[in-house]
Amino acid sequence: MRTRRRVVTSGPGASAKRRPTVRRFKSAIVPATHRAPAFPTNAAGNRATPAPDRTPGHATATSTAGSPDREIDLAVDLGRGLRLENPILVASGTFGYGIEYGDVVDIQRLGAICCKGTTLRPRVGNPTPRVTETPGGMLNSIGLQNPGVDAVIEKYAGTWSGWRVPVIVNVAGESIADYVEVARRLDGVPGVAGIELNISCPNVGKGGIQFAIDAEAAGAVTAAVRRATDLPLLVKVSPNVADVRPIARAIADAGADALTAINTLSGIAVAADRQKPLLGNIYGGLSGPAVKPVALRIVYEVSQVVDIPVVAIGGVTELADVLDYLAVGAVAVQVGTAIFADPTLPARLVDDLAAECRRRGLEDYRSLIGTALSKRAGAPSAKGVEYRP
């Protein structure tokens, strides 16, 4: 399938071959003793930058349970070797291309960065106003403004390849052919650690929402992209459906490595003069704390019907939200809208999660996962054990 390599750089990372993807099972949490030898490079093919202190046995050798600065294992594997240092990601559309927050945020402490939605051709996006605050949340209708996949690769991939934090490129399109072509161009590009398929943007007429509301279409686009690339593949599901479970199942069956749940909820706001809808595009996507109960419900539902890792997103503003999402079966969370108010929040959540594990005397956070799921369904907290490669 891969006949084209769009970007060939001669950096140190270019020659490093990506680990062949021959996993028999989908993985979730990687046991500490199995990780380090298995993943000498990150998924983007970069020779791992100064390896963080995660050699096997390190955590147990240097510390005892209860000591205040004990190293907690927060690593998570989202499949195909997309191994994150910790389960706190920043959500697509809220963090640009990872460079915008500059010195204010130490991005290398994040689990991963999901970049702005990227399409095959450049898009100018929707008319303004594009954002507005709503009670406990915000509406946005950016309309997938982006310079197109080739420009994204040219402008940012070189920078990303020098980072320790993996960058997952969020991909949107109007047709299966679009998605496939973008995935093909991203495949093998140093600095691109994975793809998050945005099949659920509510803000553009042909933004792919049609792929998110129909199980067959969702499976088809996932399968097509799966054939086009070896990159780790996340697929982001929409809450704007009656029942998300058949869609999630179709996506998992089509070969996605992980699910992201959820995209924004479709909504509108009215202008102050009450003469028209406020947003230039009329419709926008609701995000922020207001959507958390909906997102929790959907994570709760999908994590019980798929065997691939679920990455939760929706209104995370504090550690309690992270713990809630883990409890309903997510293995990682994305922080989005809250970054606008507090850019330092994601990095702080990493510390808070480690502190919580320490407080509870845990070596890692695996036992926090799936605790609120009905026991009959089988606790996904065991996923990391059951599916150990």
Binding site: G96, V104, V124, R130, V131, M138, D342
Partner: protein, 286 residues
């Protein structure tokens, strides 16, 4: 760009529903210039999820103070009015690109519409400090909206227009501009979009009507000036400070764009808020 705490020193209602607040924030004031802004977090974390952008209304680098000027238009701005001296807020700044005054400019024309005063107020201080003559044209709806002259430096010539004629010229502030545009070397404006659009039209036809040379024509003749660069603004007769609903204010979310003449969206928070008027598409856009 820095993230820092700011302590409220003084808060007062200078006009009905309009507030002037002084904060002490030395880290943010250092290096800040007129036209830039701060993005301020409200303390109501549960309901108000976005920060609020405010122009630097005045900048006092010696004392480490800044002021912001706003109208209460919703829950966020009302939250700010309940702050008391000694309270601290979290500010991100300085953000955006500042006004650029050509070194040869002697006569500075400022045009403010309503709350647009907050956008150009700091430039009056900067221009006077640099020994320039400043005329400030202000337009408001009625007498209750007219910015108090006592809050302006003595050196500023202050000319007021009101829609109902209660104070000063009876009509729009844009009607005052022709009297001054021959005198002015450069003009800087902030206010409602229709006002800025009218001014951009006047600026575009100014050379033809007055037969004046535009600034910078002799210097670097023939060398292209990159759009959006400080030079492009410095050589423009009119610079405008734009307003849009804002999300992140650092260029990540692409919420606050305006269209330029080439059909490319420009971020108000990053490429702006100050643009040369001839860089922007004033009609339509999308």
């Amino acid at each position: 760009m820095r993230l820092a705490g700011a302590e409220l020193l003084e808060s007062r209602e200078i006009l009905p529903g309009q507030w002037l607040q002084t904060f002490r924030a030395p880290e943010l004031v250092a290096g800040a210039r007129a036209g830039q802004f701060v993005h301020v977090r409200t303390g109501d974390y549960s309901g108000l999820v976005l920060r609020r952008p405010f122009s630097f209304n005045t900048i006092d680098p010696v004392g480490g103070n800044l002021t912001i000027h706003f109208r209460t238009i919703g829950r966020g701005t009302e939250w700010f009015t309940r702050l008391r001296p000694g309270d601290r807020v979290d500010m991100l700044g300085p953000l955006g690109r500042p006004f650029e005054v050509d070194p040869r400019t002697r006569h500075v024309l400022l045009i403010a519409g309503g709350l647009g005063m907050a956008g150009v107020r700091a430039l009056a201080d900067e221009a006077i400090r640099d020994g320039r003559q400043v005329t400030l044209l202000f337009g408001g709806a009625s007498a209750r909206d007219v910015y108090p002259s006592s809050l302006l430096p003595d050196e500023v010539e202050y000319v007021v227009a009101t829609d109902d004629g209660a104070v000063g010229h009876h009509g729009f502030v844009t009607e005052l501009v022709p009297e001054y545009e021959a005198w002015a070397d450069q003009a800087f404006a902030c206010g409602p979009l229709p006002m800025l659009r009218a001014l951009a039209g006047l600026a575009a036809s100014r050379g033809r009507r007055l037969g004046v040379a535009s600034l910078g024509r002799k210097r670097g003749a023939g060398r292209p000036i990159p759009a959006g660069s400080p030079q492009a603004r410095r050589k423009a007769f009119l610079q405008v400070s734009m307003e849009q609903n804002m999300g992140c204010a650092v260029g990540a979310c692409l919420g606050c764009v305006v269209m330029d003449t080439k059909g490319a969206p420009q971020r108000v928070c990053r490429e702006g808020p100050v643009f040369a008027s001839d860089e922007l598409a004033w009609e339509g856009g999308w």
